[in-house]
């Protein structure tokens, strides 16, 4: 509210919502190692862009950390074996999105030492910027905040653009999730190394770590641990959903807005999640690839919630057995409850994009079955939309299937499906769902 801007307050963006955080369930749970499942399922498409191409045969033995698939072009990343074992099959596997997709089935040798294949450590200091970018791609790094966009692509700004500032996203605005919080506290050295690498690769002058002010301990910890001679600062931003959305964080920390249809590089920034950079800082000096990630497993349907270092490809069923699934569980969500996706099968594996597994109880789900009333033009969605769309009008247009007008006159393509509008709607209109469908149909029409 502009009215209160005379009072000092945290940096933030316009609009947004304040969902109940539920972070206390796991915020003080240190990252523990998840055991290896008997069999890992490694989808070839865990990232945005082209799927990776397998480089192993069925029946081939692989060592943990060994490349098992290569990148297909620039916007793609390779895969590495998350465990020592044997390739049982390369076949279709269930995914969170619904349709089955090709994956590598890796039978884990339970008796193996699971020591990571260790080549010679590369001389990072001698690498050129282009070589660094290539090394990031070779490590199979993607955005671990949930977007899973190949990290190396963002290191190279388009022609005519320069990256002045690297923004490091430690907001973690989704309810329940605390993995980034733990990473900032426990993997600080690796994080700082990762930031330094990105500063070098992009040629940026400085980096700012943005952290929601519900994690002030992390801000203080970072300020203490970051060497004073580095151009890296940690800044608290307001705890408000979706603070961790790329465009929102850019607005909060720089006051600039990414133009419609543009990239963060257009306003001189590149945004990286803290988890991504901690992995980068850990893996690159050793010349290794991404084979595991930190996942928050939480929610009322879980008996022992916590933060875990989970091998990529671990099936949800195995993961949930380790933490104890309550009898009353109703729905398993990959990611946070706001933007995450409910899975139809527990055979879906944890991929590089999965920051959290949230299990809701059956009684939490009556929300989904509440009666939908007509829009009463209360304007709650208009006040919630972080990109200032008019979800009220968009919703009415969606109900009459006028998808073309939604895109042409009401900026539908700017919607990133954060879910704020549907969250606040007193008439229970599933606005976000409408917009997802509308965008999908518009995409089909274009083709």
């Amino acid at each position: 509210m502009a009215l209160f801007s005379i009072f000092p307050r945290r940096k933030t963006f316009d609009h947004g919502i304040y969902p109940v955080e539920h972070k206390e369930l796991t915020a003080d749970k240190p990252i523990r190692r998840m055991p290896f499942a008997p069999e890992l399922v490694i989808p070839l498409e865990q990232h945005k862009g082209k799927p990776a191409i397998p480089t192993v045969r069925v029946g081939q033995e692989v060592v943990r950390g060994e490349p098992i698939a290569e990148a297909d072009g620039h916007v793609s990343v390779p895969m590495h074996a998350p465990a020592t074992g044997v390739i049982r099959d390369i076949a279709l596997a269930p995914t969170a999105a619904g349709p089955k997709a090709p994956a590598i089935y890796l039978k884990v040798y339970q008796a193996a030492s699971q020591r990571v294949l260790f080549d010679s450590a590369p001389d990072l200091a001698a690498m050129s910027r282009a070589e660094l970018v290539a090394a990031v791609q070779q490590a199979g790094l993607v955005g671990l905040g949930g977007a899973a966009f190949p990290s190396h692509v963002k290191l190279v700004p388009p022609e005519g653009r320069t990256i002045e500032t690297v923004l490091v996203n430690g907001c973690e605005c989704e309810p329940y999730l605390t993995c980034d919080h733990r990473i900032m506290l426990e993997q600080t050295a690796a994080l700082v190394r990762g930031i330094q690498l990105v500063l070098r690769a992009t040629g940026a002058e400085r980096a700012v770590i943005g952290v929601e002010d519900n994690k002030l301990d992390a801000v203080e910890h970072l300020r203490r641990e970051i060497p004073a001679d580095l151009p890296i600062t940690a800044e608290a931003v307001q705890s408000k959903y979706p603070q961790g959305a790329e465009r929102m964080l850019i607005k909060s920390l720089t006051g600039r807005e990414v133009p419609v249809g543009g990239l963060p590089a257009d306003v001189g920034v590149a945004v990286y999640n803290v988890g991504t950079l901690a992995q980068m800082g850990d893996l690159l000096p050793k010349g290794q690839g991404l084979i595991e990630r930190v996942v928050t497993v939480s929610g009322p349907g879980v008996e022992r919630p916590g933060n875990f270092m989970v091998p990529v490809g671990t099936p949800l069923r195995f993961l949930l057995e380790q933490v104890g699934l309550k009898e009353s569980f109703g729905e398993v969500i990959l990611g946070g409850p706001m933007m995450g996706m409910a899975v139809a099968s527990l055979d879906v594996p944890v991929t590089k994009a999965v920051s959290g597994v949230v299990v809701l109880e059956r009684e939490d789900l009556d929300l989904a079955e509440r009666k939908v009333y007509p829009c009463i033009k209360c304007g709650a969605c208009v006040e919630a939309c972080p990109i200032s769309l008019n979800p009220s009008v968009l919703g009415e247009l969606a109900q009459v299937r006028d998808y073309a007008t939604m895109a042409e006159h009401y900026h539908l393509d700017q919607c990133f499906e954060c879910g704020c509008c549907a969250y606040v709607c007193p008439s229970n209109i599933p606005l976000t769902q409408y917009f997802r469908i509308a965008k999908a149909i518009n995409r089909e029409d274009e083709q």
Binding site: M1, D14, R247, K251, E257, V258, P259, V260, G262, Y373, P374, C375, I376, K377, C378, G379, V382, E383, P386, I387, S388, L389, N390, S392, V393, H409, Y410, H411, Q414, S427
Partner: protein
């Protein structure tokens, strides 16, 4: 929606306590007719059961609260029917009406029955729980019986048959603020107690069932418009506090103007809309032929609502333009 009904209950209870059985029958009539009309039109248009959303109950109760205590029941029924049928169902039902249905109904009977709707009865009449105001049970399509003899029979001193607003406007007699604030005065059934409406409204705003910006800016608009005139000539013009607490301003600001369907969707729009209502109300009261201006001010602002929404729609993130309203 149920919260709004809940918030209106204390106001309704006070109205019944103050004016007696007649108001009880009045509120029941408007509510029942409003709900029945809603049910009928939802059926005719194949919308299923829309009564369960409680919006028709709110319209009925609100309408009853804006009518004079002795208003003939058949006229009240007409108002409720017209409010829901012309003010709401014709536009497509809940969410599509341009104006507040209760006020559409009231505007209709204001035009149709100008005498009945300006016939006031004294508050706290001694036998109010034992007998009805004679005009209440007027037969349909008949003129209400004059109530002068009945009022005279009550044996009240100093009853002029005028509301505080009329006294001020035509005789420059300003009743004590404590009376208009607490509501021990004549007027429409539910508009008299400013304090009660304020408390119930604040509760709703706290529950986020109404946008506080609207009543706040209505009151600000009214006070700021009335202030210069009062400073100029306090004997001729009412004080801003009197303006705020008298007539239907409080009820209008908290429960009518704040109708979500008929008000702008943006925060800035809500403030412009509220100020417009406040300013226009005072202009009508001070310089118009009518004693009270809240109803027409809100209806006019309702009509402007979509336009205000369009003007105040914020700019889309990263875009040079704003989406259409």
């Amino acid at each position: 929606m149920r919260s709004v009904v809940l918030a209106l209950l204390p106001v309704s209870a006070f109205a019944v306590y103050q004016f007696g059985l007649s108001v009880l029958l009045l509120l029941i009539t408007t509510t029942v007719v409003a709900v029945a009309t809603e049910w009928l039109f939802a059926r005719l248009s194949g919308q299923g059961n829309t009564v369960s959303d409680w919006s028709a109950v709110i319209t009925g109760l609100l309408l009853g609260l804006t009518l004079p205590p002795g208003f003939p029941l058949w006229m009240a029924a007409v108002a409720a029917f017209v409010g829901i049928a012309l003010g709401k169902a014709l536009f497509g039902g809940l969410g599509y009406n341009v104006m507040n249905p209760a006020l559409v109904g009231r505007a209709f009977v204001q035009a149709a029955f100008p005498v009945a709707i300006t016939t006031w009865t004294p508050a706290f009449a001694p036998e109010r729980f034992a007998e009805l105001i004679p005009s209440t049970l007027t037969l349909p399509f008949m003129q209400p019986v004059p109530i002068d003899d009945w009022v005279a029979g009550l044996g009240l001193d100093a009853w002029s048959g005028a509301t505080p607003l009329a006294l001020q406007k035509f005789q420059q007699i300003e009743l004590p603020l404590s009376d208009v604030f607490s509501g021990t005065i004549a007027g429409s059934a539910g508009e008299t107690s400013a304090i009660l409406i304020l408390v119930c409204g604040l509760w709703l705003a706290w529950r986020r069932m109404l946008d506080w910006r609207i009543p706040a800016s209505v009151m600000a608009g009214a006070v700021l418009t009335a202030l210069p005139f009062w400073l100029l000539d306090p004997t001729l013009y009412p004080s801003p506090w009197f303006v705020l607490c008298s007539g239907g301003l409080m009820l209008g600001a908290w429960f009518m103007a704040s109708d979500m369907v008929a008000s702008p969707v943006t925060a800035r729009g809500a403030i412009i809309y509220g100020l417009f209502i406040g300013v226009l109300t005072v202009i009508i009261r001070l310089f118009g032929g009518l004693v009270e201006g809240v109803m027409y001010a809100i209806l006019l602002a309702n009509a402007l609502g979509p336009l205000i929404s369009g003007w105040t729609q914020p700019r889309v993130y990263g875009a040079g333009s704003r989406p259409k309203a």
